[in-house]
């Protein structure tokens, strides 16, 4: 392939031909769209997990219990699906159906999924009884994080390139990025990319020790923000090569036109004061997309509502956009912070923003952060949207940015 043709592909971007999602604001794509367009958040009290922290936190939980999910998916009674795999399968099946995928046999199809907890929701229940209770032993092999990916790939009949990415809260953004790069390089014809993370006691208690869980609904980018709400969710995008889009006369929902991955290299959990990693990730994504910052119409920010992230991200946004920061919002007050899935949840929201030509509100915002004075979009805003930039940052300094453009 000559570099000219590759650059041409880069500037046009990679086609998104299907999406599927399950989150606290809805069990499918249309329910999520409806909740976003009616500014209806999904954050509330913890119901599915029996945790001591339950009374003190708010979470974005998926409405269905495991039993309900098993029944919807028509899985056999003796299955060893973890909640992470159950949520992932619901969303991946919707994405495949949404892209009208019938048969993968003839094509080079891949599957890239992100998760941070993997099978922890079952491991934390049975860790101390694996040896003595044989009925729990089926969950030993479902602990490692690749398990949910393999189960979903099997149902979708994807036998070729299948992998899992885990870079904490930027995981799914990196899965989308790898998929887009594989399509651009001509290595795959089609790739389903995204991620899944279930809530677990392990993560709830982990974030609790970091003292960054809010006792009330989170308020991203607010001066008085008190921390984040955890959430659980899964979502996938179907990415296809232009040849395939043309051959099958596919409807293109939007395109992935930019991606950037950088490391803050500052601290294992905290972001640097200058937002260096975030700045570099956004800059790289803009370079790949060949867009000027002024061409970005909406920024779906990482905006976890922790004191550290929102200040650091605000500074990085100002470094990129200067005086004219585009409309921006964090949608985490809708869904909670869905960790490894966040990057693809917000990718779906970015595509919906393009489809609906609407900026979604940053709920619960009252007062601007004094250091930056940035004010996010606080109500639904209809406007012309060509390009959306979406940020995902994680522990370990892992920062990733994606850019989605109107097809």
């Amino acid at each position: 392939m000559t570099s000219t043709s590759r650059n041409k592909t880069n500037s046009k971007g990679v086609a998104i031909t299907g999406m599927g999602i399950i989150s606290a604001i809805g069990n499918n794509l249309e329910a999520n769209r409806k909740a976003l367009l009616s500014s209806t958040p999904g954050v509330g009290d913890l119901k599915n997990i029996n945790s001591k922290q339950g009374g003190q936190i708010k979470v974005g939980e998926v409405g269905f219990t495991n039993e309900e999910l098993i029944s919807i998916l028509q899985l056999p009674k003796d299955n060893n699906f973890t909640r992470t795999a159950l949520l992932g399968l619901v969303a991946a099946k919707e994405a495949a159906a949404n892209a009208d995928i019938s048969n993968n046999d003839e094509l080079r199809t891949g599957f890239i999924s992100a998760t941070s907890v993997g099978g922890m929701d079952m491991t934390e229940r049975y860790f101390k009884v694996f040896e003595t209770q044989p009925e729990t032993q089926k969950f030993i092999t479902s602990h490692y994080v690749g398990d949910s990916t393999q189960k979903i790939a099997d149902v979708l009949n994807i036998t070729g390139f299948v992998t899992t990415i885990s870079t904490a809260c930027s995981s799914a953004a990196n899965a989308i990025m790898l998929g887009a790069r594989l399509i651009t390089a001509g290595k795959l014809d089609r790739v389903i990319v995204g991620g899944t993370d279930a809530l677990s006691k392990f993560t709830i208690n982990g974030f609790k020790t970091l003292m960054i869980l809010s006792t009330e609904a989170c308020a991203p980018f607010d001066a008085d923000r008190k921390g984040l709400n955890l959430g659980e969710a899964a979502a996938y995008l179907v990415l296809e090569s232009d040849d395939l889009v043309e051959k099958d006369n596919k409807k293109v929902l939007a395109r992935v036109t930019g991606y950037g991955n950088a490391n803050d290299a500052f601290h294992q959990t905290a972001s640097s004061e200058t937002g260096e990693g975030a700045f570099l990730a956004m800059q790289k994504a803009l370079d790949i997309s060949r867009l000027a910052p002024s061409q970005i119409d909406y920024v779906n920010a990482h905006g976890t509502a922790t004191p550290n992230n929102d200040l650091s991200e605000s500074i990085a946004i100002q470094r990129i956009f200067g005086e004219t920061v585009p409309d921006f919002s964090s949608t985490k007050a809708f869904t909670g912070h869905t960790l490894a899935a966040a990057g693809v949840i917000e990718a779906v929201f970015s595509v919906v923003a393009i489809q609906e030509q609407t900026v979604f509100p940053n709920l619960n915002f009252k007062t601007k952060i004094p250091e930056t004075g940035l004010v996010p979009a606080t109500s639904l805003k209809r406007k012309k949207i060509e390009h959306v930039l979406s940020n995902s940052f994680g522990f370990g300094g892992n920062c990733s940015t994606l850019i989605f453009s109107k097809a």
């Binding site: 392939m1 570099s3 590759r6 945790s51 001591k52 922290q53 599957f111 941070s116 491991t123 934390e124 860790f127 101390k128 694996f130 040896e131 032993q137 030993i140 602990h143 490692y144 994080v145 690749g146 990916t149 393999q150 790939a153 099997d154 994807i158 036998t159 070729g160 390139f161 299948v162 992998t163 899992t164 990415i165 885990s166 870079t167 904490a168 790898l178 790069r181 390089a185 290595k187 006691k201 392990f202 208690n205 982990g206 609790k208 020790t209 970091l210 991955n261 950088a262 490391n263 290299a265 500052f266 294992q268 959990t269 260096e276 990693g277 570099l280 522990f395 370990g396 300094g397 892992n398």
Partner: protein, 341 residues
């Protein structure tokens, strides 16, 4: 498309691979349940304060990475790509046990912070202040191969020139016993110890004297035993090679019922080709193929297989091309093709 050369290779393993220059391995008794890596003096690679907090996998990863970067004279790689199957299981167990024992009270954050799968990649980046592309692959027995695949993609497409790639897994203390228990319950289970280790490489698109080239790497989520030969043939054919062009095979046999895949795989190659099963030296773990790649790299540098590794097999001089094949429980198959140049 640019080629992919290996400029350095390091491995911390159950064998003296890290500090010794000689490839002399002792077979681990197959009855042994698990085997720890031979740990170097980590104080040579990191500060005592940092060391105190680090779990085994992070220590192994940082030390193996540091040495790989030094050997190839690469102060700042253009990307850091890590594969790990079980991630930071030691700190995961620590936090999980504390949570269960104290019923969700009096917990401290250190173990949780370091339990995320990207801790090794993050600590390496932090240590050398590397702000470049940083990713962690966690797909069981394809974790390390996924990192290699991404590295190859980056080099081929000129997205990077020098990349640090590593595979790392630590034993942990408790979950591993549950895994062992399940294997030992059945006669079809794994018959070699569960191991640990860290193998790191600097890959580059630049040719260097006496380089070893990673010609190709591929992973498949599933392959039937019947179609294995066809897939192998296609892989070699795509690289303009046939079965008879391969000088040695390195296989991931671990003694379980799925070793029939390796028998099937090897059956189509000429009988004169030496075949080594590396897990008798490294033990079985999700990123044991990193050890296999290290071993292959060293053999290609020597041009021959040291006699103590041959175990009565016929020696073959002038080894220039090596094919590696691994799978786990009949899933997650991978081929890696290397040649000296």
């Amino acid at each position: 498309m640019k080629p992919c050369y290996i400029h350095s290779a390091t491995s911390i393993s159950a064998q003296p691979t890290f500090e010794s220059d000689v490839l002399h391995f002792e077979m681990i008794a197959p009855t042994q349940e698990k085997i720890e890596a031979i740990h170097p003096n980590y104080k040579d690679f990191m500060s005592p304060i940092a060391l105190r907090r680090m779990a085994t996998g992070v220590k192994m990863g940082v030390a193996a990475a540091t040495k790989a970067l030094q050997l190839s004279n690469t102060p700042q790689p253009d990307a850091i790509l890590i594969g790990t199957g079980m991630g930071c299981i030691e700190d995961t167990e620590k936090f999980l046990n504390a949570m269960i024992a104290n019923e969700e009270e009096f917990l401290t954050p250190t173990a949780f912070i370091q339990s995320t799968h990207n801790t090794v990649g993050a600590q390496i980046a932090l240590g050398i202040k590397c702000k470049a592309y940083n990713n962690t692959y966690v797909h069981g027995a394809l974790s390390f191969e996924s990192a290699l695949l991404d590295a190859q993609l980056m080099l081929q497409n000129d997205e990077a020139t020098n990349i640090l790639v590593g595979g790392v897994d630590e034993l942990g203390t408790e979950f591993v016993d549950a895994v062992r228990m399940m294997e030992d319950k059945t006669p079809d289970g794994i018959k070699c110890p569960i191991g640990e280790g860290a193998s790191f490489f600097v890959l580059s698109s630049k040719y260097k004297n006496e380089s070893v080239q990673l010609v190709d790497v591929i992973g498949y989520s599933s392959i039937s035993q019947e179609s294995l030969t066809k897939k192998t043939h296609t892989f070699l054919h795509q690289n303009n090679l046939s079965f008879s062009d391969i000088d040695a095979l390195i296989l991931g046999a671990n003694g379980d019922a799925f070793d029939t895949f390796y028998d099937e795989f090897a059956s189509v190659f000429p009988e004169t080709i030496p075949t080594l099963s590396h897990k008798q030296w490294s033990g079985e773990f999700f990123t044991a193929s990193g050890f296999a790649l290290f071993l292959s790299y060293e053999i290609l540098k020597l041009g021959e297989i040291p006699s103590n590794l041959l175990q009565n097999k016929t020696a073959k001089s002038d080894i220039k091309t090596i094919l590696l094949y691994n799978q786990f429980k009949g899933r997650d198959h991978s081929f890696m093709l290397l040649k000296s140049c």
